[in-house]
Symmetry: C2
Subunit: 218 residues, 2 copies
Amino acid sequence: MNSQSEEDYLKAIYHLEMDYDSISTNSVADYLNMKPSSVTDMLKKLADKKYINYQKYKGSSLTKKGKLIALSIIRKHRLWETFLVDKLGFGWDQVHLIAEQLEHIKSEELIENLDDFLGNPKYDPHGDPIPNKEGKIEKMNQKLLVELKIQQEGIITGVKKGTASLLSYLDKEKIKLGDSIKVIEVLEFDGTFIVEINNRKLTFSEKICQNLLLETYD
Amino acid sequence: MNSQSEEDYLKAIYHLEMDYDSISTNSVADYLNMKPSSVTDMLKKLADKKYINYQKYKGSSLTKKGKLIALSIIRKHRLWETFLVDKLGFGWDQVHLIAEQLEHIKSEELIENLDDFLGNPKYDPHGDPIPNKEGKIEKMNQKLLVELKIQQEGIITGVKKGTASLLSYLDKEKIKLGDSIKVIEVLEFDGTFIVEINNRKLTFSEKICQNLLLETYD
DNA sequence: ATTTATTTTTAGACAAGTCTAAAAATAATA
DNA sequence: TATTATTTTTAGACTTGTCTAAAAATAAAT
Ligand SMILES: [Mn+2]
Ligand SMILES: [Mn+2]
Ligand SMILES: [Mn+2]
Ligand SMILES: [Mn+2]
């Protein structure tokens, strides 16, 4: 049985591996708001358990075993988030901290029953794919809006980390996850995007475009 | 913020106070499968926090503050049990251990939304009353079937602790919580009860009658 | 190629929560 | 009441997960 801490570390390393090749001790510390010395201790323990490949001073990576555990925690996290939004009426910007706790509840049966109860959803309220029981997860062809060319289309799947306030703005503009978005024009002067969503033309600042994630059709 | 351990101790003391006047260190240790020395340590901490009245060698009792915390944990426990049975299709005999974990999730809003989602239930799947947000709990006029006189009626609310197998028997006989039960006859020879449930006459051994809890109308 | 800066690990400490073994207090029995 | 048994507390140890401060390794800059 793995502790809550161990699970959070494995999840952190998994997320960092999405963005970087080699995972440094400091990057894990930053991610988890922990001191590097604490991280070193935990990395040693996770390596003992064969959940990560850890070489002193060189960095870490998940083993197959560790990756499966990380994915099972992410599965639970995203299913609980879906429950909180779909069934309990929470907003997508309110569920993360609660799911951070719920993801550690130990019961195989619980999570499978929850999955069925929710209608076996494929995406969580932030548009992130939910891994299946076997740890298979859809690899998203995800791009930032700012990376799209004129006339290119995509489906809104989420926002970048640390931009929760963007969610409220989208809400206010009645823009939801799953909405289709098409680039009409880009102003060279300040990088402003003119886009079309739900048959409406809207103007997005460059900053918004740098933080809005889309799934594209290529 | 109270730890999971502190919450479990407070809940244990609350339950013990239902059955006994003075709560001994050893009784808490037995209840939680812990060593008495560990309990002493925790009792001191809970007393420091003004959650219990603790006097060396004399025993403990919950303060108003401690009782409110215990009741809030019990509220969460019973709401989660209701969720697991009503929404996720668990049996009443499968939910306790999972609720034992879920009861410690920290979020006021979560539990109030869950309460609404479940339709503000008054009783959990074992027939135990669910405390309200303010810590008010219905005092059940609960009796064992064996205590009823001939012609007296009651509503099945649960079974005594440690008799989980009785639940399966009742299930098999299509008897549910909330069913009304009436004593028709008591055989003096062996204490067998003849009762009426759902317009059926049934025979219950004395042992069953000593473990079946009813709410009576007096 | 040295020197300097950064990253990472080690060493040692601490809090929480548990345990065992022994001492002290209380209760039961002779 | 004196002795014995039981309950409860104390003393000291251990594990987990965290921290600070210092040392060691690696990377960057002169
Ligand atoms: Mn977590
Ligand atoms: Mn999410
Ligand atoms: Mn618990
Ligand atoms: Mn219950």
